[in-house]
C-alpha cells in the first residue's frame, strides 16, 4: 500500500513537471525505502509462515500480528513527510485523500450490491487498498490540475 502511495507521490510530481524547491524537498527517500523493504519482507514472511501447517493458534496469531510494528513505523514516516509539506501541497493531498476515501466507499458499496445480486464473487478485502491507492492517484491528479 505504502509502496504505491510513495511511488505515486514521487511520480506525480515529476509527471506534472512541478518539482518541489530544494528548501522544501524532503530527504527521507532512503530511510523510507529501507523501512518499506523491511516491512514488505516481514509481510511476506508472515504470509509464508501462516501458509505452513504445524503451528498452534497462538503462534499463528503472533505471525498474523508480526507486520504491525514495521508498518506503524512506515505510517509514522509518511505522516512526518506530510507534515513537512507546505500548506498548499497539504491541501492538494487532502483533496486526493477525500476523493480516494469517497470513491473507495462507493466502489465497495456497489460491489456489495453486485455481490448480493450474485453477479460477482465475494470481495477479497486484500484488494481494497489497491482501489484506495489508485483512487488516491486519481484524486491527486484531479486536485493538482485544478489548482494549476
Amino acid at each position: 500500500m505504502y509502496t504505491l502511495h510513495f511511488v505515486l507521490y514521487e511520480r506525480l510530481h515529476a509527471d506534472l513537471g512541478l518539482k518541489m524547491t530544494r528548501q522544501n524537498s524532503i530527504p527521507l527517500v532512503g530511510p523510507l525505502l529501507g523501512v518499506l523493504c523491511l516491512a514488505s519482507a516481514i509481510d511476506i514472511g508472515a504470509g509464508w509462515l501462516l501458509g505452513r501447517p504445524g503451528f498452534g493458534s497462538h503462534a499463528r496469531i503472533l505471525f498474523a500480528l508480526l507486520p504491525i510494528p514495521a508498518n506503524l513505523v512506515l505510517v509514522t514516516m509518511i505522516v512526518r513527510r506530510i507534515r513537512r509539506l507546505d500548506e498548499f501541497l497539504r491541501y492538494v493531498h487532502l483533496e486526493a485523500v477525500a476523493i480516494a476515501f469517497l470513491l473507495t466507499g462507493l466502489a465497495v458499496f456497489v460491489y456489495g450490491y453486485l455481490q448480493k445480486a450474485q453477479a460477482v464473487r465475494p470481495l477479497n478485502v486484500g484488494v481494497v487498498w489497491i482501489f484506495m491507492a489508485a483512487f488516491y492517484g486519481l484524486g491527486y491528479v484531479i486536485a493538482a490540475r485544478h489548482y494549476r
Partner: protein, 70 residues
C-alpha cells in the same frame, strides 16, 4: 481575492522557483497563488508580502463587496 504577485515578481525579476525558495514553499504553491487558484493562509500571505518588502494589503486585495469601510 486578487493578488499582485506576478507583477511584483516581474519587478524583482524573480522566477516562480526563486520566489518559492525565498518563501520556503513549493513552486506549485506559488503558481496556484499567482493564478488566483489558491488563497494562502495568513502566514504564507505575510511571508509572500515580506519577500517583496510590502504589507499584505499591498499584495493581496480582498474583493468581497459585503465589507465596506465605515
Amino acid at each position: 481575492m486578487k493578488n499582485r504577485l506576478r507583477v511584483l515578481r516581474a519587478e524583482k525579476n524573480w522566477t516562480q522557483a526563486e520566489l518559492a525558495e525565498i518563501v520556503g514553499v513549493s513552486r506549485q504553491a506559488v503558481i496556484a497563488v499567482e493564478n488566483g487558484k489558491y488563497d494562502p493562509a495568513l502566514p504564507l500571505a505575510f511571508k509572500l508580502a515580506r519577500a517583496f518588502g510590502k504589507n499584505v494589503e499591498e499584495v493581496f486585495v480582498w474583493e468581497d463587496g459585503s465589507l465596506h469601510e465605515g
